[in-house]
Symmetry: C2
């Protein structure tokens, strides 16, 4: 069993980096605060006797040798970056649960057969740099590494230059580390486990996801003397698109989600009819055909809006991954681990994207969820109990040991 | 008659300051570029023999003495600041037409009875600092001067500190300059004069105007695992409000205008349900009762949206002025001037707010409009013909001389 108190203390220590007033964290990818959290993680890993390597997109791998170091590793981990108004468990929990597993193995003097590795992936949130799961995407080949390095934030700074700046442009190549099994522990970020009072979610896979950037171009004109009937108001078009996206989320129930998260209005002046509006769209469904249906509804809907409102429109699909089932052996290892420890559990599909979903493309992979308060995440008030976090890390240890002994 | 070529040359010279690629200007109030345009105007005024004074909110007054300097001045002018993607005639035309009148009086060696003054008002656009017509509002007492000086831009910089920084926090008190008559020449910024092929609009008054700031507060949550039915999406609420405002514009025809110009989404991340959205609203109507009806429809509508969508809402009415008729003698002076010069003209109500509308509260005031291409303003492609601009300045000269001789 792992040491729940030590895990909690490390989580609270990490949460100081970028701490916000409302109890959350703001630790955007590749900022100075992200560097601080990376430095602390590397320090802790070295103190736990691990060797540390960094790859070309800043993913950090810490390794505890096994009895047979020719064997592929048992890998675990998650991410340290956060949303602008994020919670202290999203990502950090999976990284530090991995560290706690290694610390517990050290305490017990337990030698695994395989080497054990913890990874902290770069820019999982997709907030500063789109898309999400960028580091694992570049690592696994789900995304083109050159494209990933060239992605820019709203100020035009690229992933490559920010990696250099914070000193995490590593020398290890992307991909190719042999992995026997990969597990990621994470808070659920939704309401299911809490509602059913089950501390463990056995994640069977992730839903499909599509990201878009939508631009409407109308004509800037004066808000006073320009008659309503003559206007080409890009914001009115974008507002209709926001409602369209929301409606698609409801139309494709059960299980669909559809969200507009960002909007930039130009010229953004009170007495100017907006000429240019840019909106991001995030659509998800666990069934690929249904997600395709949502995609078709979106395309038809924005064309209709643009035509009716006499606007130019551009819809760019910038990211897509299909619904991804996890490896049946890894899922079983999680389920059996939870059962053996006597934790109530249920199978669950992940609503969020996770680095594990990218890893599922190159290695046997599974995930463990624990509940979070009110199902709220991507919010400074995100919360989870020490008991549930301890349970999740215990299941992680069990699942890793089961994979080690296979 | 004025010298149309000299007027055009001065307009083109001024338009170099903050010139944009698409042929417009970006010369936001109290920026370095605004200072440059002020410096050029002051230099030209001094070259034309005027004395120059600056008041506490940065309004610049250039004075050409008359035969009897105890008499109140004949005042003309407009503003030099622009929208972020503004045109080169909006405001600058009225200031430089005033300068051209003085230059023409000089050329003719003509001595007016009254002193003649040109004013360049501070922050007319209301784009960097809300509300619009801030300098004339503070000057005339339509707005509280202390409140005006404390207004901040999106970065939190105040009018007072920016005035200091650019060296235009003047030593003259606000208000109290004796004015016999005030005229402002301006492009129409709407389509009426062009459609009727009339070079001169005799402005009979300005429509009423209300500005609001609307905030919806929901709950930030993850765009993936948060079920549609559990969401409190502030952007979906704001999108409905944008459509509500647009609908109010149509419902209160004829003559109503209603616009959302700015929107700020928070936390503005692709995979976070927006928790906080701020929108600006601009509503106008030439009939005060109708504008009150629009106000009531807005208040009821946003409450209904907030209630139905389970959002907190705050609607702040930050600025209001009623429909304002101009002085009948000043209107007649413009009409008679146009007739005397043989220019086709029509009476027109201003759709835009203008400093002249504030001045109408403290002095007999009138305005002269000239057509602009396709009725487009607050856009870099804003355009007007040298012929129409010349006609407007000729009418300005005539109206000022008529008032001088009364
Ligand atoms: N786990 C998590 O919050 N991931 C962000 C990627 C996404 O699901 O949008
Ligand atoms: N003339 C002009 O563009 N004024 C700005 C004030 C307003 O009408 O919103």
């Amino acid at each position: 069993r792992i040491n729940g108190e030590r895990l909690w203390d490390s989580l609270m220590e990490m949460a100081k980096i970028g701490a916000t007033e409302k109890g959350g964290v703001c630790r955007l990818a590749l900022t100075d605060l992200d560097r601080e959290s990376r430095d602390l993680f590397v320090k802790w890993c070295k103190e736990a006797g691990c060797s540390v390597e960094v790859d070309a997109i800043g993913n950090i791998f810490a390794r505890r040798p096994g009895r047979n170091n020719e064997l592929p590793a048992i890998l675990t981990g998650s991410h340290l970056d956060s949303q602008p108004t994020g919670g202290k468990f999203d990502g950090a929990y999976g990284v530090l649960a991995g560290l706690e597993v290694i610390r517990s193995l050290n305490d017990a003097g337990y030698e695994t057969e395989h080497p054990v590795e913890i990874v902290a992936w770069t820019n999982e949130e997709g907030s500063r740099f789109a898309p999400a799961m960028l580091g694992s995407g570049a690592y696994t080949g789900a995304l083109d590494p050159e494209w990933c390095l060239a992605r820019t934030d709203l100020e035009g700074k690229s992933v490559a230059e920010e990696l250099q700046r914070i000193g995490y442009a590593g020398d290890k190549p992307l991909g190719g580390r042999p992995v026997a099994a990969c597990f990621e522990a994470h808070i659920e970020q939704g309401p299911v486990l809490e509602a059913e009072e089950k501390p463990i979610g056995v994640v069977t896979g992730g839903q499909g996801q599509r990201w878009y950037e939508l631009t409407f171009i109308g004509q800037e004109a004066h808000a006073g003397p320009t008659p309503m009937a003559r206007r080409k108001d890009a914001l009115v078009g974008a507002a209709e698109a926001v409602q369209l996206v929301n409606q698609i989320g409801f139309d494709f129930q059960p299980d669909a989600c559809a969200t507009c998260g960002m909007m930039q209005v130009s010229p953004n002046s009170r007495n100017v009819i907006p000429g240019h509006v840019w909106v991001t769209i995030d659509m998800r469904h666990p069934v690929d055909d249904r997600l395709s249906g949502m995609d078709a509804a979106l395309r038809a809907g924005v064309e209709e809006i643009a035509k009716r409102r006499n606007l130019e429109v551009q819809l760019d699909a910038i990211w897509h991954f299909p619904a991804t089932p996890f490896d049946s052996d890894c899922v079983a290892a999680v389920r059996d681990g939870a059962s053996a420890l006597g934790y109530a559990h249920r199978d669950i599909v992940s609503g969020a994207g996770h680095d594990a979903i990218n890893m599922a493309g190159v290695a046997p992979t599974g995930m463990i969820f624990v509940p979070c308060e009110d199902g709220i995440s991507h919010n400074e008030i995100e919360n989870a109990t020490p008991e549930d976090l301890t349970a999740g890390a215990n299941v992680l240890l069990q699942a890793m040991l089961r994979s080690d002994q296979k």
